[in-house]
């Protein structure tokens, strides 16, 4: 008591700065104490949560397997199945348990197919889990909405299409991405219709994911990419170019060539690659005629394109560039020249002394 009194008197007689320091010491000490207690609680909680999760997961797995194999042939719900549905329904009010049920259902869904897969789907409806997923779409929190869309995608719930499509221009990229994946996963190429009205950019990451989903479908039906090539959204044009490349959309040739004057350099470079892959010879003449006006990256892309479709007519054009200052252009020009006319190559190879030129010639002669 005397010590305390002495300390308070000491503080009162100290300058404000020292009072402040002692105040900060007090705050720090208290914070450290609280954080240590919280840390202890957190670590224990995380460990026990992991154990509880494992226990519930095992319980639900057992329930679900029993459910799957206790069905009757009349396609009605057997008493055993009904008991499981009731038990699951009871647990669903707890969000922690609900998340484990969903995870277990999805895990099983990924491991099985055919009738058993349909049974899981049915269970998703019977337990009312679908309502929880749909209600997430109306949440104010973007990550809850995204999670809801993902669940609906994973359980192939097509009937909420109209509600999901309203998220097309959602301010959060993650929500838009889930919406796009929902459409493509469930409606295949038809799902790409959202590109017609998409105003926000489609990142390369999103594009790769969509293309990966599309490649999973057996039915690689022909679709019309032309409207997307004309889109005012540059990322939609880029995506359409990728589609043209992968699905060899030769019929869009005219529209592709028109894009050679697109305002975006990135699109023009991508386009030149696609034109090369599709072997659209007509583009070569156009590009040759305006070669100098193009950026260096476009010029490099054009030479790569020419490597894919070498013609003897190219010789005079190539001769202009075998001494170009850019290494890649020089390499391509010499490579194509060697391909189309080895005699000219042999004559030209002695006409350069610049180190890169000599190095390239030497390399091409040995390979």
């Amino acid at each position: 008591m005397n010590n305390n009194q002495y300390f308070f008197e000491y503080l009162q007689n100290s300058p404000p700065i020292i009072e402040l320091v002692w105040f900060m010491i007090g705050v720090s000490l208290l914070s450290i104490l609280i954080l240590i207690i919280y840390l202890k609680y957190l670590r224990t909680h995380l460990r026990s949560n992991e154990k509880i999760r494992e226990t519930y997961q095992m319980k639900y797995e057992l329930h679900l397997i029993t459910y799957l194999y206790s069905g009757n042939e009349e396609e009605t719900i057997s008493p055993e199945q009904q008991t499981i549905i009731d038990e699951l329904k009871k647990d669903l009010s707890d969000s922690f348990k609900r998340s484990i049920v969903v995870a277990t259902l999805l895990k099983l869904k990924n491991e099985i197919s055919g009738e058993l897969d349909e049974s899981i789907q049915k269970l998703y409806y019977q337990t009312g889990l679908i309502n929880f997923s749909i209600s997430k779409l109306r949440s104010r929190k973007w990550y809850v909405v995204a999670k809801g869309v993902r669940e609906l995608t994973q359980f192939h719930i097509k009937e909420v299409h109209d509600e999901v499509i309203t998220l097309i221009n959602h301010p959060k990229n993650e929500v838009r991405k889930e919406m796009q994946l929902y459409l493509v996963n469930l409606f295949s190429f038809k799902g790409l219709d959202f590109l017609d009205v998409l105003q926000t950019p489609l990142s390369e990451w999103d594009q790769i994911q969509l293309l990966e989903v599309l490649q999973r479908f057996d039915d690689q039906q022909v679709f019309d990419i032309k409207p997307w090539l004309k889109s005012s959204n540059d990322s939609v044009v880029t995506f359409a170019l990728k589609l043209a490349d992968i699905y060899i959309q030769f019929q869009a040739k005219e529209d592709l060539i028109e894009l050679l004057d697109h305002k975006s350099e990135k699109i023009r470079i991508e386009l030149i690659n696609v034109l090369g892959n599709l072997n659209i010879i007509e583009a070569k003449t156009i590009l040759k005629n305006h070669f100098i006006e193009r950026s260096q990256q476009e010029q490099i892309a054009f030479f790569k394109m020419m490597e894919k479709m070498p013609e003897s007519d190219d010789e005079s054009f190539l001769l202009e560039y075998i001494h170009h200052e850019n290494f890649e252009i020089k390499l391509s020009a010499l490579k194509i020249l060697k391909m189309i006319n080895s005699n000219t190559f042999n004559i030209q190879k002695h006409k350069g002394t610049e180190p890169d030129f000599v190095k390239i010639v030497e390399y091409l002669e040995n390979n």
Binding site: I25, S28, I36, L39, Y143, K177, S203, E204, I208, D356
Partner: protein, 478 residues
């Protein structure tokens, strides 16, 4: 005269006080920003399906560039680990930087390597090749390229890799680092995700693998090492990566990404001239230069940061190597800040010039020197009998408690996010380190920094220090 002396002493005291308060304030601000950013990152990435990118052959190609110098002891296992990444489109370029041991011979035998003709576009000048370029005849190792060149240092070896890579993105890593299987797709994500800003580089969290169990290039079990020095570094890394860099990433002010693992847009890395071979802090220097370049081009850009623990590395387990490493880090920081001094306080370079650079200068570069000056000043006051010991005690306690508090916040942040140290008892151990670290590690860091300064100004010949590794596959460390 006496009044003047007293005034000077008072001014010095207030300057120290203001510096301390600003330091504490900046740490608090960074911790808050970091917490906000971490929560946002965790929410955002809970939806990502990395498997789709992982298996996609449309995903962009990446070159992993790993320089190796006298790594014969573990080179085979280290390369195997790099080759076991699950990403589809990537190759591994091992640059044997004039090793004097049998690294190359071992690689040739283990991976069925044969010399190949390879045309190099020498965009960045480097030391010439020694034995040449090798590729494997075994299709299982088709991703592997081994380059044998004359010794030129880490930066020169990385530049050789940049010249050889045919891919759009390069991941520069230390050959002895253990990359997690999802590391490449997580690192490439910010590059592919950004639509309105050019991502020029991305850095990840480096975790300490000492005492962890690693088998066949995979992290099996995470343990806390026994030595105080190693434990202290674990806490230091958690603090730096989860609190510091996360916040700087939010402010788009990252000036460094660890040389142990970073990914770059190759075109820009080459455009700025690659790594600087004249500095020992090449990892920081290249980022500062790339950022400076983008600012000068007036292009919207970002240096991204991934808080996931993607790369595990071996930390020094004795004070001699630890001091040598920190000495090098200090010299690297001084060299970079000096070389790019035109950026500092220059509004032309936006937040980089007005925020990141001054922060690094005052709170990283000068911090240990100011600390030592403080101690010297205190010693003078003691000699002059001008010390109020009760006030001194109060200030020391406050500084100590704040350090401990900051460390505990970092531990909590780790628990709430990645929870890597799950085993019972580790929590208590980490707390113990938080209390002991200011005495057991911090003095050595200050000492290394001071010696680093002396070496920088008076021992110009000093380059990289010694870094003897036991190897993460060595039975002693597992």
């Amino acid at each position: 005269m006496e009044i003047n002396t007293i005034s000077i002493f008072l001014i010095i005291r207030y300057l120290f006080f203001v510096y301390a308060i600003t330091t504490i304030g900046s740490y608090i601000v960074l911790a808050i920003i970091s917490a906000v950013e971490t929560v946002a990152y965790m929410k955002k990435n809970s939806f990502v399906n990395y498997k789709e990118i992982l298996s996609s052959n449309i995903a962009p190609s990446i070159s992993i560039i790993a320089p190796a110098y006298n790594e014969s002891l573990n080179i085979i296992e280290n390369v195997r680990s790099l080759l076991s990444n699950h990403y589809v489109n990537y190759d591994v370029i091992i640059v044997n930087d004039g090793s004097k041991d049998d690294s190359l011979e071992k690689l040739i035998v283990a991976y069925d390597l044969v010399k190949v003709e390879h045309l190099i576009n020498q965009q960045i000048p480097t030391k010439p090749l020694r034995e040449g370029i090798f590729k494997s005849t075994n299709p299982a190792f088709e991703k592997l390229i081994v380059v044998d060149k004359e010794n030129g240092g880490k930066a020169d070896a990385l530049n050789t890799g940049l010249n050889i890579s045919q891919n759009k993105y390069v991941a520069c890593i230390d050959v002895d680092c253990l990359l997690l299987e999802e590391a490449l797709q997580k690192m490439i994500k910010p590059f592919l995700e950004s639509t309105d800003t050019k991502v020029i580089a991305a850095g990840g969290v480096i975790r300490i693998a000492n005492s962890c169990i690693i088998r066949d290039g995979k992290l099996i079990d995470v343990n806390l090492p026994k030595k105080m020095l190693e434990k202290g570094q674990i806490l230091e890394y958690i603090r730096a990566f989860l609190l510091g860099r996360m916040a700087w990433s939010r402010l788009n002010g990252l000036l460094v990404i660890s040389g142990a693992f970073g990914m770059f847009d190759k075109k820009i890395a080459i455009e700025v001239g690659g790594y600087d071979t004249k500095t020992v802090g090449e990892d920081m220097e290249i980022i500062v230069r790339m950022r400076g370049f983008m600012e000068e081009q007036k292009e919207k850009y970002k240096v991204a940061y991934i808080p996931d623990p993607l790369c595990w590395t071996e930390a020094p387990d004795n004070y001699k190597i630890f001091i040598s490493q920190r000495n090098r880090w200090t010299r690297g920081t001084i060299e970079t800040l000096r070389k790019h001094r035109k950026i500092g306080f220059n509004p032309k370079y936006n937040s980089m010039g007005l925020l990141s650079y001054p922060y690094w200068l005052f709170f990283e570069r000068l911090a240990p020197l100011i600390e030592v000056l403080g101690i010297l000043y205190f010693a003078i006051l003691v000699v002059l009998g001008q010390v109020r010991w009760d006030y001194t005690a109060a200030f020391i306690i406050m500084a100590y408690l704040f350090t401990v508090l900051f460390s505990i916040v970092a531990i909590l942040s780790e628990e709430l996010t990645y929870h890597q140290y799950k085993k019972k008892g580790i929590g208590y151990n980490l707390l113990k380190i938080a209390f002991l670290e200011p005495f057991a590690i911090h003095p050595f860091i200050v000492y290394s920094a001071v010696v680093g300064n002396i070496d920088y100004y008076f021992n110009k010949k000093k380059k990289w220090g010694e870094m003897t590794r036991k190897g993460m596959t060595n039975p002693e460390t597992i």
